[in-house]
């Protein structure tokens, strides 16, 4: 195969970063900050390095499969997906664009990761529907691993909040 048919690392990166997150399809993998590197490895094989949001995140296998499909389409059928745990993913890596897309879809985006845990699970998160700050946690440790459910005492809507980690 001529090298002309194989996309460059930058082209692969642009495509994998545009893939939707399987659990929150309103944001892309690039927005989420899970794509760490895209570069040929020492053996010349194109390698995409990703970091899981949580060690047990059930979406990781779907994400890896979608990335492998992109690698194949880009002329890298032997391409690899490598998972690294360090440095640990943090919600601080979610892009400004990603936060805006979450809010537009009524998922309150995470605050900074450095604040105390009770705040990170949702105390004081404003309602994405009416803007009221009079909200309270309803399901602080779910629905999914990365989200809490809150309820707004002003408009009575429940909404999801992506927890800072």
């Amino acid at each position: 195969m001529s090298t002309g048919t194989r996309s460059t690392a930058n082209e692969v990166r642009r495509l994998v970063e545009a893939l939707p997150d399987p659990e929150l399809p309103v944001i892309s993998l690039g927005d989420l900050g899970v794509i760490r590197h895209v570069a040929p490895a020492d053996d010349g094989v194109m390698e995409v390095t990703i970091t899981p949001t949580y060690t047990g995140c059930p979406a990781m296998e779907t994400i890896q499969g979608a990335i492998r499909a992109v690698l194949s389409e880009c002329g890298h059928p032997d391409g690899r997906v490598r998972q690294v745990l360090s440095p640990a993913w943090t919600t601080d890596w979610i892009s400004a664009d990603g936060r805006r897309k979450l809010a537009d879809n009524r998922i309150a985006p995470p605050g900074p990761a450095g604040v105390p845990l009770p705040v990170r699970i949702g105390l004081g998160v404003p309602c994405p529907n009416c803007g009221s700050a009079a909200t309270r946690p309803q399901s602080p440790f779910g629905a999914t691993r990365c989200q809490s459910i809150l309820v707004c005492t002003a408009c009575h809507e429940t909404f999801a909040h992506m927890r800072a980690t």
Binding site: Y54, T55, G56, S86, P118, F141, R145, T165
Partner: protein
């Protein structure tokens, strides 16, 4: 003068250590899954499932690493599904039956605080895989601590009945706590080498943080009675065999099945 320079940590040592930590996470995760559809509220079904998922994620990394290092080439699935009871190295705390919700919360309180201290220390490990896993896991188990502490206070400082049950849960779980902090030749060797953590040095911190929660919950720290032990040598409780059988049942009927 002790001749510590002559001692070397082998891959087999790190594998044995990763196996202990991985088995702890695997079986506590399995126990917590038993709550799904049975917890007091749907929010707790979700919380238990999410905490179990973190533990399963940690177990997968640790067991996969153990199989890679011990020279047998066993995968995480081989280690979870094809070992027999005596080959598992988890502490006895994680296999104790769920009991009522208060007992499970007491077990969560004890284990989450232990693992937070352990993983925080292990994040400094000279072994890059253990350090990476620990840095990730310490953030996850911080949530487990918060979950357990909130429930301990809610039940302990709640009604007369919830207080009685929470105290009973703590009393029944506490004999399994000392084993978490047991030191042996393996962990001391790994600790001196900077690869692992001797849990004995975490005990004072654990006492401090757990006592603070119990006191806020108006609960009493139980006086030492008997103590459990033997899990690290593969000696388990009566409740363990049915648990292993359930964990491995699908693999036994359909070896290698995937979906």
């Amino acid at each position: 003068m002790p001749v510590e320079a002559a001692e070397t940590v082998t891959s087999a040592d790190i594998a044995a250590y990763a196996l202990r930590l991985g088995d702890d996470a695997l079986f506590l995760g399995q126990r917590l899954c038993e709550w799904v559809t049975r917890a007091p509220t749907i929010e707790e079904d979700l919380a238990m499932a999410n905490i179990a998922l973190d533990l399963l994620g940690q177990a997968r990394t640790l067991l996969g690493y153990a199989g890679e290092l011990d020279g047998t080439g066993r995968s995480e699935d081989d280690l979870a599904y094809t070992r027999t009871e005596r080959q598992f190295r988890n502490c006895l705390l994680v296999e104790t039956p769920n009991g009522d919700f208060a007992l499970t919360i007491a077990r969560q309180l004890a284990f989450a605080h232990y693992s937070r201290l352990l993983y925080t220390a292990l994040a400094e490990s000279a072994d890059a895989v253990l350090a990476g896993l620990a840095a990730k896991a310490s953030k996850e188990v911080a949530y487990h601590c918060l979950h357990a502490a909130q429930w301990t206070v809610r039940l302990g400082a709640g009604t007369e009945e919830s207080h009685r049950r929470m105290q009973e849960g703590v009393d029944r779980i506490w004999p399994y706590v000392p084993e978490l902090f047991d030191s042996d030749e393996l962990v001391r060797r790994l600790d001196r080498d900077g690869t692992g953590v001797d849990p004995a040095r975490l005990r004072a911190h654990w006492d401090e943080s757990v006592t603070a929660v119990l006191s806020e919950a108006e609960l009493t720290v139980p006086a030492p009675r008997w103590r459990a032990g033997g899990g690290r040598e593969g000696l388990h409780t009566e409740a363990f065999a049915p648990m292993v059988a359930e964990l491995q049942s699908v693999h036994r009927q359909y070896p290698g099945a995937s979906w």
